[in-house]
């Protein structure tokens, strides 16, 4: 470990970088949808309780363990955890802190490239004059990598590689000249753009610029409390989940950033500033943009329907159309501001995701920043291209589920056990308060030891055994039907339907209805079956359709024959590649550990002097 030790240039730079890590697309696209679907204004109660009992304690844990590892000479999660407890298992648990960042960054950088592309398209006026359907179709075309909207072939891939290259370049410039500098530019601009859009949303008037309702109708809808929803465990779990993901907990990035602190640098005020900055971006700005503006044009019922498909739909399919109603100048400014805000929030987060692997290669192999940053870019491209090329096959969803959801909860659960029970909450409390600019209420010591670990275990168990349709009234000692999206349900491919083999010579219908359309769109062939729900099935020109227009179809009926690769193949290969990635890092950690021990045999003995 003979490279010069990096440190943050200023306290403001550190806090803005940490805030940038936390503030992401979810603040603006996920939170408002969660609030609308989970009790409106009443959601703020479980949300703020989760912030106090889960969010803030985990921030203290991650900041303090990160700083501890940094003082011991390590900046990457595996060796940070190993420096806290000498049992060998901890460095392998730390592998999750590298794995989850790589797997998430693989698809996150892709979404970031969408925002970059949409800034460009907003600026050149692509959405001017397009209808709502055409704007939505633009998004589908963009995701179809064979399609080009600007004449650039494989446009989505070009933007993706450019975005990734930007991340690599910034990471290679180091902490102060790269990450910190970007944070100091992007975070203030993000807040400025957010305030501009908030003002537009508040001042939206029915009858002006094509708006049907006042912007206040949307605010009213989002913030009107439905207190009876508080009796539903689903709402509390949604709140805890939102806090967890919005603060970027359980990933290892916070530990990595905090490891560049000095031993007596404050972390209490710093971490609280970061946490509340994230909450400002979420509760103040995030709640004030997509929902009020969308309701101003579409009304409540339609927005509820659109929101059920997630925030991406509203953000990328609807808002560009709505902004274009504001005229050439204001429409351009709004589009650039909104997608620029999303881009800034995205890039500050993806830089944080790249930091643990860069630090790991330095810790274990003495690689310099430039080489490590290039390695990050290469691994992301390798794992990210399948999410680009096979987006519609479920690869993206698998990465998001296993790396972006499950592994985060598991890692957070283990790190709080390490902090509160293995290291011990007394030592942990001293660690938090080293150099602190304020004393925490002792209540947090009790929360760290008992409440936060219990909440995390409950969150994990609820994800493992989620009841069908999130209906917690089913849960009883007699057992219950699992939801397809529960961890066990996912592992067992529950609900996969009749096309459950990797390869087949026939494709079977997955819904009941009537064949009402056989059509071609963007050079792809589709067959649509419409019943209670409508489902379009893509087939190749080499396949033989065995049904005709108007045929009645039951689930399991053959629709077309030929050489068929089912989505379950892509799903299983994605899962296997994630397992391979995790095992690969475990092996790398072992080799890195041997390298470190060769240089300094005693480096991993527990240093009680830090307490």
């Amino acid at each position: 470990m003979n490279q010069p030790k990096e440190t943050w240039g200023s306290r403001l730079g550190l806090v803005l970088a940490m805030a940038g890590n936390a503030v992401g697309l979810g603040n603006f696209l996920r939170f408002p949808i969660q609030a609308v679907q989970n009790g409106g204004g009443a959601f703020i109660l479980p949300y703020l309780l989760s912030f106090i009992l889960l969010g803030i304690p985990l921030l203290f844990v991650e900041w303090s363990t990160g700083r501890f590892g940094g003082v011991a000479g390590f900046n990457s999660p595996p060796y940070i955890l190993q420096s806290i407890d000498k049992r060998k298992i901890w460095k392998y648990i730390g592998a999750v802190g590298i794995f989850s960042n790589i797997a998430i960054a693989a698809y996150y950088c892709y979404i970031e490239s969408w925002t970059m592309s949409y800034v460009y398209h907003s600026f050149i006026g692509t959405f001017k004059g397009l209808s709502e359907t055409q704007v939505s179709q633009f998004f589908d075309n963009y995701l179809d990598v064979r399609y080009s909207t600007t004449g650039i072939p494989f446009e989505a891939i070009v933007f993706y590689i450019f975005c990734l290259g930007l991340n690599v370049w910034i990471l290679s410039r180091g902490l102060q000249k790269g990450i910190e500098k970007v944070a100091k530019i992007c975070m203030p601009l993000l807040i400025l753009f957010g305030i501009f859009l908030m003002i537009k949303a508040f001042t939206l008037k029915a009858g002006q610029d094509g708006a049907v309702y006042d912007g206040l109708v949307g605010f009213n809808f989002l913030w009107t409390p439905q207190f009876d929803s508080l009796a539903n465990p689903k709402v509390w779990l949604a709140a805890a989940g939102q806090i967890f993901f919005t603060l970027s907990l359980g990933m290892g990035c916070i530990q990595c950033y905090a490891s560049y602190l000095k031993k007596n640098d404050d972390l209490v005020v710093n971490s609280l500033t970061t946490g509340f900055t994230n909450e400002f971006c979420e509760i103040v700005i995030g709640s004030s943009v997509i929902i009020p503006i969308s309701i101003g044009y579409f009304g409540i019922d339609k927005v509820i329907e659109l929101a059920s498909f997630g925030g991406f739909g509203l953000g990328f399919r609807s808002l560009p159309f709505l902004f274009s109603q504001w005229g050439d100048v204001m429409g351009l400014l709004a589009g650039v501001a909104f997608f620029g805000l999303l881009f800034f929030s995205g890039i500050t987060s993806s830089l944080a995701m790249g930091s643990p692997i860069v630090a790991f290669l330095k810790d274990g192999f003495n690689w310099g920043r430039k080489k490590s940053s290039l390695a990050f870019g290469f691994i992301i491209l390798l794992f990210g291209l399948p999410t680009v090329l096979f987006f519609s096959k479920g690869v993206f969803d698998q990465y998001d589920y296993w790396a972006g959801t499950v592994s985060l909860v598991v890692f957070a659960m283990l790190e709080i056990i390490l902090f509160s029970w293995v290291l011990g909450v007394d030592k942990g409390w001293k660690l938090i308060h080293q150099g602190a600019d304020m004393q925490l209420p002792r209540f947090f010591k009790f929360v760290l030891k008992y409440i936060t670990p219990t909440l995390l275990i409950l969150i994990f168990l609820s994800s493992l055994l989620k009841p069908k349709n999130d209906d917690w009234s089913q849960v009883s000692f007699k057992g219950w039907e699992l939801d397809n999206a529960s961890i066990i349900g996912e592992l067992l491919h529950q609900g996969i339907g009749p096309n459950h083999t990797w390869f087949s010579d026939a494709f079977f219908a997955e819904n009941d209805g009537k064949v009402d359309s056989i059509y071609t769109s963007n050079n792809r062939n589709y067959l649509r079956v419409t019943g209670k729900a409508s489902k379009s099935y893509e087939y190749q020109s080499s396949h033989n359709i065995t049904v005709a227009l108007g045929d009645d179809i039951k689930t399991g009926d053959t629709l077309f024959k030929g050489n068929i690769i089912n989505d379950v193949f892509y799903i299983d290969v994605s899962r296997l590649s994630l397992v391979f990635l995790l095992l690969f890092f475990a092996v790398m950690i072992k080799i890195g550990y041997s390298n470190i021990k060769k240089n300094n045999v005693n480096v991993f003995t527990t240093d009680d002097k830090q307490f």
Partner: protein, 35 residues
């Protein structure tokens, strides 16, 4: 806007803003040097 929605929105947004500004102030305030 109905009263309950307005109250909840204002109290949540204003308190988060105030606390954020407070912590930024504390963070940026120069530390007193011990004699």
């Amino acid at each position: 806007m109905n009263t309950s929605a307005l109250l909840i929105m204002l109290s949540a947004q204003l308190s988060v803003t105030a606390i954020t500004v407070y912590f930024f102030y504390r963070m940026l305030k120069p530390k007193k040097k011990n004699a």
